[in-house]
Symmetry: C2
Subunit: 482 residues, 2 copies
């Protein structure tokens, strides 16, 4: 087994930017800042420029090429003017850039190989005064810049590389992992990467850190890190219980059996149809998939809706007796920027608190995939009526069934203190349910609902046709790991 320090040393070599990379980035940031000042000079209002994000603080992972410049306007500037002036500056600095949209529109472009965001915000006095979430970023940057020395900054890079390696980096709503700001605060709070993982292996959620000791409310989340710049905000609010547990698991694994592999994200090969069939054969389950066009929205809107839709369908399946063993929402290969299939975190929005909103890729297909233990039920279902003693209800129930000529109705009879009937079951087969209007009545995401109306329902081995388009999330499903 490798020694932890030896492993970390080799990881550092890979993930810490070389001096040349740092210098290139510094030079580019300086040039962009100068250009921005010039553009501001042409405006009828004043503003300053602040470089934020990991590349501003020396906490980026080698190879990341993001430069974030925030243009701070007076706090009183109204929103329309802020947007107008912000875009004017953006286009002046990045003539080939295009507009994107987070809390405000902003300009994104390329400069000497770097991905540059030029984001307008309000220059508020404290984080408590902020007009929009974007305004928070400079406070985060100032807080961290004042406290991270070179050693801690290097440990932040290790921590980010580790979280990327285990697929838990990114506060986008698909990943539900650790944001860059959260990662930096944890390294700062615990005093380094190794102290962080040593601490994490013994955490008993809920775990709370409050670096400034100023929390003004309580939080329900499994991990709470009170924002040092805002006593009412949990920086870890997006982190899922699963990703917190995964972090603990891999923290223990790193300390027990140090390995560089933990710092290297998997890029699993897509499962092929033959492999899908082999798993079904081994497992003896019946899979179902409801497949539809993913609504044309960004991941941060799509994934909460897909999860909500999955919960709705799983609830509906279970309620109708089609017991679900395990289920997952998936998008096909078109649905991820790295060209792979669905469920892997790409960490792409880990660095900044307000994630960039990438334009949605056209014609992504989404699948609500579930493996069932039960796909058929009898023609009759038990239906418990009111207690016989509750006279009016009981009489209504009894009268409504006693003259029922439907040959599929048995009873009413009495079991314990209640009337009971066995009556025709609404859905005898899972296909009947999934193709019915009732399946669309579960809580679906608002934008999923119209797409869901035009769904394909696959039952049994037919799901193998989902590979290879959904081959990567299918491998994740059939080769589940912590």
């Amino acid at each position: 087994m490798d020694d932890l320090e030896a492993v970390l040393s080799r990881v550092r070599e890979r993930v810490l930017p070389e001096p040349e990379e740092r210098e290139r980035l510094r030079a580019a940031a300086t040039a962009l800042t100068d250009r921005t000042h010039e553009a501001i000079a042409d405006l009828p209002v004043g503003a300053d420029v602040v470089q934020v994000g990991s590349t501003a603080r020396g906490t980026w992972v080698a190879g990341d090429r993001d430069i974030d410049l925030f243009v701070r306007f007076d706090a009183d500037l109204d929103r329309a003017e802020l947007e107008e002036y912000g875009l004017a500056v953006g286009h002046a600095v990045l003539p080939d850039g295009h507009e994107e949209y987070a809390e405000h529109p902003y300009v994104k472009g390329n400069y000497e190989g770097f991905d540059v965001d030029l984001v307008p915000c309000h220059d508020v006095e404290t984080a408590g005064d902020l007009v929009s979430a974007v305004d928070r970023t400079p406070f985060h940057d100032a807080y961290l810049s004042a406290r991270l020395d070179d050693d801690l900054a290097a440990d932040v890079v290790l921590a980010k590389a580790f979280l990327k390696g285990i697929g838990a980096y990114g506060s986008d709503l698909r990943t539900e992992g650790f944001s860059g700001y959260l990662t930096e605060l944890l390294v700062l709070e615990l005093g380094g990467f190794v102290p962080l993982v040593e601490s994490a292996r013994s955490w008993h959620p809920p775990v709370e850190f409050d670096p400034e000791g100023h929390a003004e409310r309580t939080f329900e989340d499994p991990l709470v890190v009170v924002d040092p710049t805002d006593p009412t905000r949990n920086v870890a609010a997006v982190l899922s219980a699963t990703n917190l547990a995964r972090f603990q698991h891999y923290a223990r694994e790193l300390l027990a059996a140090p390995s560089e592999a933990l710092f290297e994200p998997d890029e699993p090969e897509p499962l092929d149809p033959e492999e899908v069939r082999a798993h079904l054969d081994r497992r003896g389950t019946t899979p179902v998939a409801v497949v539809f066009d993913a609504p044309d929205v960004v991941d941060d809107q799509l994934w909460p809706q897909l999860r909500r839709s999955l919960d709705g369908i799983v609830g509906g399946l279970n309620d109708h007796g089609f017991d679900v063993l395990r289920a997952r929402a998936m998008t096909d290969a078109a649905g991820t920027r790295n060209g792979g299939g669905g469920s892997d975190a790409d960490g792409g929005s880990g660095d900044r608190e307000v994630p960039e909103r990438a334009a949605a890729v056209e014609s992504t297909r989404a699948a609500l995939y579930a493996e069932l233990e039960v796909t058929e039920r009898p023609a009759v279902a038990r239906h418990d009526g009111p207690p016989v003693a509750v006279r009016k209800h009981a009489a209504n129930f009894y009268e409504s069934y006693v003259d029922d000529v439907d040959p599929d109705t048995y009873g009413p009879f009495i079991d314990g203190d209640r009337y009971v009937v066995e009556r025709e079951r609404e859905f005898v087969t899972v296909r009947g349910y999934l193709e019915s209007d009732a399946a669309g009545d579960v809580a679906l995401g608002a934008q999923v609902e119209p797409a869901f109306a035009d769904r394909d329902v696959l039952v049994g081995e037919a799901v193998a046709t989902l590979a290879p388009a959904f081959g990567r999330p299918l491998r994740g499903f059939y080769e589940p790991r912590p």
Copy 2:
């Protein structure tokens, strides 16, 4: 619709004993009492004789031919002597009688067409002093005899006929219905049969009556009638919630649509195999039956054990994912004194509080019968481990599965805050479960357990072979009524 009073009048004609029947019974009871006094005179100790039960109080249903004589010995007489003298008197009075056993042995025999029980007991001063449950009976008799006039006695007969008609008469542990004493107390308390059913239709269990206002404890039963001769005893303790609800249901039906049929017990024809198959076809269920020799014990011992065994097996089936729609314990035609199949109450032990113990009929077969919604599950089953945060347990769980080479084990993976594996399921088919040792590990009745070891397991249409032997309980199962 018939008028209630007209219906009751016709029922009275059928169920109230004619003067000749009363006179024949009175003469027989007098002759038997005289004979008993003569036999007592030959003993070295004194005793008196008291006629008890419905035939002593004029509350028997026409055609009942039971005469119960209790021989009361001094309260200090020890048990061995009581039994010796009691049997001596019994054999002297009923030379052709045979011994049976309730709390003591006693002699049962025939006299001029009447079924006579000659039961020894202790002459205690109050019900609080009683040595055995048998000693209670004379107190009950004295209490009722002092309070029931001819009109109330006639209403008691109506009430008994009604309870027999709806199959809820008898405090034996198979029927779990209304004892004769309970019926008489209720008629007395409410002031007649019609006031009783008028009251019952609006009862909201738990319902409590305490005729003497002397209850010394609380009771958990749905109907409580505190014994006027014992403030710590609920006369309705044996009554099941189902039979109480059934009584309420039929009380409402009698008042809403009076009919003599409600006073006439059904004797359903046994279901034949073709009818069983037709029901299975309509219902789309899969029936299973575990069939074995009923242990050679009396009904009051057999039925609690069969119910307990049924609960155990139903619990086991559900726990293993073989969802039960409805289930029933049954005995075959040999298991009932009236020659019919199983589940109908025969009311035979309704009149006396301590039921007679009929000799068990040899070679009764018993069946635990269940209709299933699900008969197969996948090869894998989900198994939730401890939360990842519970470090020692979590590590043990993870280690025990991570190197598992069983190809049927998936995981461990993390879902929410826990480790999860999908591992080989213990029982994939219901037959596999029911034929396994595990099925015998559920809570079975003590005397059922050895018989259960040598069980036949029927799955699916094979259960049709249970008809006609189990044809009557099968009709009850497939034509369920209140």
